[in-house]
Amino acid sequence: MSRLTDKNLVIAKEIIARYPRQKSALIPLLHLAQEQSGYISREAMVHLGELVGVTSAEVYGTATFYEMFRFEPIGKYLVNICGTMSCALMGAHELMHHAEKRLGVKAGGTTQDGMFTLAHAECQAACTEAPCLQVNYRYRLRVSTADLDNLIDDLEAGKLSEEIPAHGVLAKVRQHIAPDRGVGAVSPELVDQAPAWLNGKAAL
């Protein structure tokens, strides 16, 4: 979609203030941009580059390193169905076929209404609970085709919006760091004292 909204710009500035070097804030800012639109648009990357003082090419280089940042519009719910060994043995392929039929899209596609993106996933480390899937990285375990239908019904009806926020939202509670606990814009080489809030104790 576009650049950061005014509301998110305030949050972005707070995030930037936590780091001694502005560009260190890039990953949390990319998350913020993804939260805003569900994916990271080009305009957002240009904006982030301006905010932290790097070129958009550098933002792009950093962002594309990470698989969970998306650069194309994506459904509100990203359904990742595991297809690796254990899940495959326990019926993941049938589950995928069922999901494809139910949602009317092939794996990798997004439904017309923009609600669901269906995707193959490699092992999600829940082999004992196969077959498993994730909706916006929230697990659903030992999923049967009926479970999947129910899940989609519930998501469509908005019954799970508390538990599963839209794609891009990391957590319902946003981390806040009081300004006096931030490192501030001081170069690490110039810091010769521990932060005041440690009260003279060792950092770890």
Partner: protein, 791 residues
Amino acid sequence: MTIVDPTAENIVVDPNVVNITINDKPVLARKGELIIAAADRTDDFIPRFCYHPRMSSVGMCRQCLVEVETPRGPMMVVSCMTPVAEGQIVRTATDTVKKAQEGVLELLLANHPLDCPVCDKGGECPLQDQAFSHGPGESRFVEEKRHYEKPIAISEIVYLDRERCILCDRCTRFADEVAGDPLISFTSRGNDTQVLTFPDEPFSSYFSGNTVQICPVGALTAKPYRFKARPWDIEQTESTCTSCSVGCRIVVQSSRDELVRFQGVDIDPVNWGWLCDRGRYNFESVNSTERLIAPLIKSDSGLATTSWSIALESAARIIRTALASGADSVAILGGARGTNEDAFAWASLADQLGITQRDSQLGDGLTPEIFNLEQATIDQTCAASTIILLSPDLKEELPVLYLRVRDAAQKRKSRILEFTPRDSGLTPYAWRSVSFEPGRQAQVVRETLETQEIQEQIRRGEVVVVLGRANLAENESFTLHALGEIFHAIPNAKVLPVLRRGNVRGAVAVGLTPQKNSGDAIDILTKAAAGKIECLILLGSDPLADVADSDLVARAFNRTRSVISIDTFINSSNRNADVVLPAAAFAEKTGTTTNLEGRISNVTQQITPRGTCRPDWMIATELGLSLGIDLGVSSLDELHQKMTSNIPEFSSCANNPIINSDGVLMVSEASATISRASVVLVDRNSYSYRLIVSRTMYDNAQSTTTSPSLVGIITKSAIYVNPLDLARIGVVDGTNIRVGIADKSIVLPVNAHSGVYRGTAWLPYNHTTVDVRPLLDITSDVVDVRIEQLH
């Protein structure tokens, strides 16, 4: 550093020297030096792709593995990441090392398309060469190779073939570390890693051509050279670039008597191997079909081709007629384009004819007096603790000097104190950047130098002032007054004069500069406009297009009876000339050139001059003969000898072979000082904007407009103001507005630019579409314009 042979008697132990052994031979290394750098001084070659001596090591390619003895036996290390240590034993060619190097090469080639027969790099490719010398010979990979769209244009000039790329990080590192334009970056991860720009944002760096030169494979290729030649049918010679006055060393390469490529040569005192794109690619103009190839003479139907003898005779007749009414009725403009020898021959001819009115600058530089101040070299500038910039934007006008100064500020702890009318390319790297409104620089400099913080910095060590003309829309005296303030505060400051024209320093040294108190180019044009000049000799100059005051120069040309032009192209000034003599271009003639720091180095002929073109010096001697004057030289060697013995500044380069490599500094003695003077401040009406007019890298210079690869990137004219001022004018970015002064005005787009300060407006000079010169009046101190909406 002094390297001491430890086996000699009277051993002096230098703490910076480390003794190591490479392949059983003792090697002296510098403390902190990398093994690969130490090995480069021996005969043992360590293969490498990512290591580049002018950039930081990253250890990306793993090709430079060597064995180092440790207490637990030999260990494999990456020689570009491992510093030397006392007593270190290095082996570069054991069976283990060979096996490792072969293994790495096999992996690097796993996805490489091996399309060498159709690759520009084939024949001079480090990957190809080292696959032969250090590779396994065959691959065990049978899998399908990675495929990408073949080549994609990442800028107007550079093409990227990602299939060939081995991800060595040289281009991306160069763009970030050296050029400061990180517009290309590694994207994605693992097997998908590739170098890319931001989508639809080109790699529009002024230095992009260097990435092509340092690419160790054929991944980056340049449009002007693509499929033009193969390395084995290239002939080459070392020379010095004269596109600007930095004087970068280059290799001029030709194939079938046509220039095909320039490559940078790494010399310590100047360019470190780097070139700017304009210098690298404007050789295309030498090959241009628009070049003048025969003498032209005025006829009823315009300029007509003629023979050299007729052209020289009529030129001589014109000069003789003009001289009959006094030596003051002839003037020479230009001469900074050619070699020292060219300029010397013309200055000698002028001397013999008694012509004192000559100027190799066109009112856009500074008085040649600045060459008589205490001088600094580029190296001294970059080693100074404080570099004061009182100069044009080096990135735009002297790009490789920008790289050197940027490097000094980034890596060598020099601090830049910048005085500038608008943000320059070096502003982000400046320790302090102080802005001034044109006309007020002396006052701003005085006040700044009085602050305690600045005084402390100045006391830390050497101070060098990089001095040049930042603004064509102000009187040059403002810059000199500001310099006077600097000398008042820092009497021992040295000066690096940065006048931009290729060989302006050499031309001034040999005498193509106002003689015996006669006026400079502007005075000459003013006299011409008053009808007092009968004959103008244009020595590779185009005043009608180049002098900042179009009104003055048009009047001057209207009143001048005859014009003789020595040039490589037809331009606006010689279109109606009486005689046009075709000159040999760069790479078509041999000689020497002088860079901005006074470094004399050779330029070499590589191709046959087009048509019947002759070098300027030859034209001067021939014209002399037609005028009954014998300059006493019949060859370039004789001319060079005569120049080095007649011109004291050039005595250092007599019979000195170093002019063929690093160059020799001219002899200069500080004889001038510039002292503080009181300046009358010119107030600005708060409704108007004070103009800053300066050049950018790609403008309508003849060598750029006649280079097909560069002509597309010349910027269109626009005026730039501060975003807040844009709001005050009441228009949005890109709207056409009227810029006016007195009864003259031009219409062009206005753009917001946060690097332009409030109350000023930046107008880049000599761009396409709109001529901005009607606004400029060279006699006024500063130029204040009105900016209004169109109605």
